[in-house]
């Protein structure tokens, strides 16, 4: 129990730091060729992706909502990031199921494969990041009329964000 609480404390601290990096550092990154602002570096979904697997689904959803709202306050997009992050958190168990064997993790249980490998983690993160980006821009445009723009922005931002997520995985080797 105390281990779980410690893990939760650590996860919350990690979320706080990731959000701080997102809103203080990454937010200010501007690509010189992207004057229209098509691509966004969306790094903070990793905070939810790599939450402990033992954490219950409702708590994961609530944490995702709070984290999303916090980022939205700094981005001045109330509800957009939170909605996308909650959707991604809801899809997380599905990603777990898909990568269950490779990750060596079963949702709600203690992980027994301590080193799933960079590419496995990246694949797992990529699936969730793609869901997040699509939801994020769907909420931002808020209409199916601009579906082409939504898809272009989703792909562009997904690729940009994935590079930072990959760096994060390489540097920190997160455990789920």
């Amino acid at each position: 129990m105390s281990i779980q609480i410690n893990k939760l404390h650590f996860s919350l601290l990690r979320i706080f730091l990731i959000i701080a990096i997102q809103v203080l550092v990454i937010k200010n990154i501007r690509l010189p060729w992207d004057k229209e602002g098509y691509g966004l570096f969306l790094f903070y979904p990793v905070a939810i992706m790599f939450l402990p697997s033992q954490l219950s689904k409702p708590i994961t959803l609530i944490i995702a909502f709070c984290a999303g709202i916090t980022v939205d306050v700094f981005y001045d997009t109330p509800g957009v990031g939170a909605g996308a992050l909650v959707a991604m958190a809801y899809a997380r168990p599905l990603a777990f199921e898909v990568f269950e064997v490779r990750l060596g993790i079963k949702l709600g249980q203690e992980s027994h494969n301590l080193n799933p490998g960079f590419f496995t983690l990246l694949m797992y993160a990529a699936v969730l990041l793609l869901i997040f980006c699509f939801c994020y821009f769907s909420f931002e445009y808020f209409t199916i009329y601009y579906i082409e723009d939504i898809i272009i922005k989703t792909i562009y931002s997904f690729l940009l964000s994935l590079t930072i997520v990959a760096l994060y995985i390489v540097i920190f080797r997160p455990k789920i």
């Binding site: 609530i62 509800g79 957009v80 939170a82 909650v86």
Partner: protein, 274 residues
Amino acid sequence: MLNVIQFIIRFGTFFLFLGLEIVCIYLIVNYNKAQQDIFLNSANLLSGSVNEKFTKVRSFMNQYSVVDSISQENAALYQERFNYPFLFDTLDNFKDTSLVYSVIPARVINNSVSTQHNYFTINKGTSDGVQKGLGVITKNGVAGIVKSTSKHFALVISILNDDLKTSASLTRNGYFGSLVWDGKDPKYFDLQDLPRHAETKVGDTIQTSGYSLIFPKGILLGTVKEIKQKEGTNFYSLTCRIWEDMSKLDIVYVLKNNAKPELEQLEKDVYTDK
């Protein structure tokens, strides 16, 4: 109750997800100008479309009440029109009778046109003031005369009945005769017994003569199609095409002549004296 609790526990995560997404959408719509505009526009389109369909359904459901309402208005207008000449009656015959004609709207609920003696049934009876012998008209002319009544219904002799004769006149000069159906084509009638000196030509209109206690003068009926001379007589007859299509009767108006009992009594006295 237990089932409800079990259901909530089972799908609790889904409901929480749904609730959080609703909160997010609420925030998006209320605190983001662009999304708010899109939402309002989409909501207007959706509500407009739904309202349009709902209105169509509602108007379909209300069509009978609308038709009834219109027929009431028409009846009031007919009543005004038929009573109009009496306003200028210099003999003061109808001084005490403000309404000589009352008009009662009704719907045809049964109709026959295929025999020599046709009848139709209307949805108004004695409880609505309909009595035996009253005239029935439509917007295109005369339809028949009430033969018998029950409390809520009345049986009407159709003009497509060779027993029925209606007094009709030429609009251009007022010469009158009897309009009868020959039992063949429901569109064509004969205007019989017109005096030879009555000038007429094809295309003239015919109307009710007003020489009966049933129909007031001036209800247009149709046009002259053919002039037939009767050999050896001082009369001729006209073949007339009537405007009313008796095979699709719907709304009709029953004419009640409030002066009829008095006039009938008078005529009865005259014939009794003879």
